[in-house]
């Protein structure tokens, strides 16, 4: 039941967005959201490789208690660069700028986003930010941690802080433009009949993410702006020696950076909703709950930031407030996990690669999320903060969660994006390797953290070596796991079998009404929506092509 149709089309691809115009100018000056999504895909893949290399060197260094590879000052730069790149230049833009840009207009029945020229501008702004970050890295790097705490970053660290802060500042504008585009597109450009409660849940998730982009990103921008001014002018905004409050920096920094982690996970949750329904051929359990939970996560994400500051000098009363609110944010996340599980129950499940990633997400995100509760609780956080427990927690949600969802979505929509199928056997092998490598890398870190190994340290006590070596071994397996899709996905663009319009038999305008790959204007006939989302019929899972109101 899960095989591809026996006769794959073998004719040459029709005129579509990839072959309608040629040449470098047609890509660099495109206003097509689909091409812009691919431009972003290339850029963030490059940034991921840089961030991954930093992690690779870190894990190599940590196989010896006294450090195997670099000086401590260099190690500080490695973990900083890894964090900055992975957070600001990979995870934040990953699903929104690639899959979001590509899929949103298709999924809502629009020809493009509301502001295509702004969309292209956002990519140029993004690569400008990336370039400044790379200048910062190659001109000596920074060693402040990705959190840039003052006064070290402003007064005492004589590294390329201002370059990096400028890069992040500029990349932030790219996020703002993307979020702005998505909000207006979703409000104003839905197809006739596509009411809010008929939208695919990926769209709800992207809408919630865009709200965080809009309300949160400007605050990190002004914070880095003030940090830069303090660094350059030696004035006292955040430096206590000059009359400033270092905790004010932390408040302003985390006001964005906590919601930022929900920017990273919400789109992944949206992808998982799409994958779980498509590969169990069943409508989502509790649509309204899942939709509202995305909005609830976006809202609550803004009132919990102080849980990053429990042990840095925040008042105990503020700590109490933030602790209670942090427990609250777990609720909508749990709602999603319950609803996905209930969707799977009695579904007609198949285990193609996207589904493997989705299932992996559900398990690993749950573990990561639950361990967040230990950190939200004031007393246990005193013990666990600043240790590898925190590192393991956020890698479980960001890598076991967000990156797995990103890969799952990339594989799911790959036939739509490229018109080609990738080799499913290799895809399943890679997904499995990634899952195993990931757990071997990060589970030992929970134990290390609990036993007291601090994070961001270049050396550690000898009794922690076994777990560190296990973690580093896992990291090398994980690296192999990531390399495999890079190879076969690129291979498939030229040599992969040509994909049918709807290889998964999924519901959704992008599958039923647009060809694979779509024409430049997305639809030959603009769709009209007459049914709920995920309206899978029990014995008609394959659907019929172009079923909607034509």
């Amino acid at each position: 039941m899960s095989e591809l149709p026996e006769s794959l089309p073998v004719q040459a691809p029709h005129l579509n967005y990839l072959n309608s115009t040629y040449g470098i100018r047609s890509w660099l000056l495109t206003k097509d959201h689909k091409r812009i999504g691919l431009l972003y895909l290339a850029t963030i893949t490059i940034m991921f490789i840089f961030g991954g290399l930093a992690a690779f060197f870190m894990r190599l260094h940590l196989i010896e208690p006294q450090g195997a590879l670099v000086e401590p000052e260099t190690y500080n730069k490695l973990f900083t660069i890894h964090g900055v790149i992975m957070v600001f230049f990979f995870l934040v833009p990953s699903i929104p700028a690639t899959l979001g840009n590509f899929c949103i207009p298709l999924m809502i029945g629009a020809r493009d986003v509301a502001f295509p020229k702004l969309n292209l501008l956002s990519w140029y702004v993004f690569i400008t930010g990336c370039s400044l970050a790379l200048v910062a890295i190659f001109s000596g790097g920074i060693d402040t941690g990705w959190t840039f705490y003052t006064p070290y970053s402003s007064t005492y660290s004589h590294t390329a802080v201002v370059w990096m802060a400028s890069g992040i500042f500029i990349a932030g504008f790219s996020s703002i433009l993307t979020g702005l585009n998505f909000v207006v597109t979703i409000h104003k450009m839905r197809a006739p009949g596509l009411t809010w409660f008929r939208l695919p849940l990926f769209i709800w998730a992207m809408y919630a993410t865009s709200i965080i982009f809009i309300l949160g990103t400007p605050v990190i921008a002004i914070t880095l702006f003030l940090l830069g001014l303090e660094t350059l002018l030696h004035v006292g905004i955040f430096d206590p020696a000059l009359g400033g409050d270092p905790l004010l920096f932390q408040h302003m920094f985390w006001f964005y950076s906590h919601p930022a982690v929900y920017i990273m996970i919400l789109p992944g949750m949206g992808v998982v909703s799409e994958l779980v329904t498509a590969f169990s051929r069943k409508k989502i359990f509790g649509y309204a709950f899942v939709a509202f939970s995305s909005m609830a996560i976006a809202v609550i994400s803004f009132i919990v930031w102080g849980h990053h500051m429990f042990v840095t000098g925040q008042s105990v009363y503020a700590g109490l407030v933030f602790s209670v609110l942090s427990f609250l944010v777990a609720i909508p996340s749990a709602v999603k996990v319950f609803n996905w599980t209930a969707t799977l129950y009695k579904g007609s499940i198949s285990y193609e690669a996207p589904m493997l990633y989705a299932l992996g997400f559900i398990g690993l995100f749950t573990i990561g999320g639950l361990t967040g509760l230990f950190l939200a609780s004031l007393a246990t956080d005193v013990h666990l903060n600043g240790t590898y427990f925190v590192v393991a927690h956020f890698h479980y949600v960001m890598v076991g969660g967000a990156v797995m969802a990103y890969l799952g979505g990339l594989h799911y929509w790959w036939p739509k994006i490229t018109g080609r199928m990738y080799p499913d056997v290799w895809a399943r092998i890679a997904a499995t390797i990634i899952f195993l490598g990931f757990n071997l890398t990060f589970f030992p870190q929970f134990v290390l953290g609990y036993m007291g190994m601090p994070r961001r340290y270049a050396i550690y006590p000898a009794e922690f070596q076994v777990l560190n070596v296990l973690s580093s071994a896992g990291a090398s397996i994980l690296a192999v796991g990531y390399a495999i899709p890079l190879i076969y996905l690129i291979w498939s663009m030229r040599y992969g079998p040509i994909a049918p319009q709807n290889p998964w038999g999924a519901k959704g305008l992008e599958w039923e009404n647009a060809s694979s790959p779509p024409v430049t204007e997305n639809f030959e006939v603009m769709p009209v929506v007459t049914e709920e989302a995920y309206n899978y019929q029990p014995h008609n899972y394959q659907g019929t092509e172009g079923a909607h109101g034509v």
């Binding site: 703002i176 605050v219 001014l229």
Partner: protein, 225 residues
Amino acid sequence: MSDAATDHAHPPGFAHQFETIEQQREAGSLGMWVFLMTEILFFGGMFTAYTVYRALHFGSFEAGSHLLLWKFGMTNTAVLIVSSLTMALAIRSAQTGQKKGTTITWLILTMILGAAFIGIKLYFEWYNDWKEGLVPGLHWIASPEHTPGVEQFFCFYFFMTGLHAIHMVIGLGILTVLVIMTARNKFSPEYYAPLEISGLYWHFVDIVWIFLFPLLYLIGGRYQH
């Protein structure tokens, strides 16, 4: 004669990702409002930091505020209010189909007022502060009367009014583009969206100053002097 785009093959300024000119207009307006939301949070971050330090270092902030020249602050507030009126009238003149010369006149008046704002600030205030050694980081002359909080106040004074001034300059650039577009007959009662949207930006910059004036110039009242 309908003002909807449906009976035009290509209504003026129509962008093809949209179905109707009405949808485009609504999207453009919503887009600018969403952008202004980001600006509220952007300036708001600075206002938050200001609020924290004003609460913690009130005496110093009051002392610093009293060193500012309130007459120029008040004049500039009036200048911007007039410029908001002229901007609103410029948009109205396009809405009501008046000659493009009228619209251009109102736009240029707005620009003159904006330039006057920046001129007053630069010459009568900032240059004066420079001469008196009240520019933190660049030219601060320490004085026994100035507690550390006074220098911090002047940081916020320059950062906030500086960020505001940058936005004004960008606004002048936008107005220049609008003047050119008007001169090229781009606008009519059916299509004046760029004017409307730019007006929103200009009024927002005015609103920021409406708050900056009392918060920077009038801390703790002026009855002491």
